[in-house]
Each structure stands twice: as C-alpha cells, then as structure tokens.
Symmetry: C2
Subunit: 128 residues, 2 copies
C-alpha cells in the first residue's frame, strides 16, 4: 500500500489497531449497523477516515461501560438521522450514564467487602 495515495485514511487492520479492536470486530460492527458503511477504495477495501475512527472510539467507550450492542445500534441509527434526533441521543446517554453511576456505586460497595476480606485474611495469616 502506498501511504501517499491517501495519508488520511486507514485500512481495516490499521483502524483496528488504532481503536483496540480486531479487524473481524470492525467488519462485524459495520454489518450490525453500529457503524455507517465505511468508504471503499477502488479495489473495494475499507478506508477508515478520522471521523470513522473517532466514532469507533466512542463506541468502544460505550461498550466498556456495558452498553449492549443493541443500544449502540439504536444510537447509531439516531446519529445517522441527523440533528432532529439530538434530544433522543441525549436522553439515551443520560439513561446510560445513570446505569453507569449505579454500577460504580455497586462496585464501590463490592470493593469495600473485598478490602474487608483481604484485611481479615491478613489478620488470620498473622494469627495462624
């Protein structure tokens, strides 16, 4: 590949490396409608733009925070419909944020128990 042909786009595996997913997953995301159809070169190969990569990075954040693929698809569809869905997208994110906050609170509780157990094990080890 001659990078000078187009320095601003990435192949599927370059994009995969960039966002920390596999090429398989990127193709699958596209197939599942999480990503709008990616541009192709003359040979039909995907070329990821900066915008595409930014979008993928956002998707990885949503996944990491536990958003189901189904909801990411919904979000993607809304985004493709343009500005009249801004409110719906905000609401989707707000609902998701609430779930993330709830999850973080839960994690803190569980972490406290974990710390307590570690403490107890330490004491028992020193006693035994």
């Amino acid at each position: 590949m001659d990078a000078r042909l187009d320095e601003t786009t990435l192949t599927v595996s370059e994009a995969a490396d960039r966002v920390g997913l596999t090429a398989y997953t990127l193709r699958w995301y596209e197939q599942e409608g999480l990503v709008a159809p990616v541009g192709r070169d003359s040979a039909g190969r995907r070329r990821y733009t900066g915008n595409d990569v930014d979008w993928l990075m956002l998707l990885t954040r949503l996944r990491r925070t536990g958003m189901p693929v189904r909801d990411m698809r919904r979000y993607s569809e809304l985004a493709r419909q343009g500005d009249q869905t801004l409110g719906a997208r905000r609401e989707l994110f707000e609902a998701h944020r609430d779930r993330v906050l709830a999850r973080m609170a839960e994690l803190e509780q569980d972490l406290a128990v974990l710390n307590f157990k570690i403490e107890v094990y330490g004491q028992l080890e020193r006693a035994g």
Copy 2:
C-alpha cells in the same frame, strides 16, 4: 413446608430469592463447584444454611465485580482446603481488587466522556 421443622435452613428457591439469583443458577453453581455440596433433607432436597447463604452472597459480589466463574471455582476450592490456603485466597482477592480498581478508573474516564457528550447535545439542542 413446615417452617418449624427447621427454621434455620432455606429451600433452594428461598435461598435464590434471598441472594437474588434463580434456583436454576443455585443448582448450577453447586454443580460447577462454586458452592460445596449443600445439605439435604430426608427427601433429598437442598437445605441452605445461613453459612451457605453468606457464601452465596459473597459469590454474587465477586460475579458483580466481574470475576469469571472459573476464578470463583478456584477460590471455592481453596476455601474448602482450609486455613493453609489463606495466603492464596488473599492473593486472589488482591489481584481481583486491582482489576476492580482499574475498571473503576476506566469507568470514570468513560463517564467523563459521556457527560461531555450530554453537555454538547444539550448545547446543540438549545442552539438549534
């Protein structure tokens, strides 16, 4: 069932309600070695003691924090081997705690992006 027969133990579905899992899952956890074989009544039905329930509650915390079933099994095996595995159990928990902390840090990053997006959507809505 006559509660007076044994007020201190629970049936599988009572225990499931208590810990927030299903009876199916409780049997499966036992089958998978996450729980030591549960005591039975004269008819072969499981009777969960307070200790059993406490153990299950700990397991649900470990699951919620993302510990794989495989690791929970390992922990369970260590616990059954008695006090000489206290150190190993502490180490297992410490490693898990580190993963939970890393995950929480990641969640906070992702939450910040989420909040930023919500903010931007709000601005765009007011502008449009």
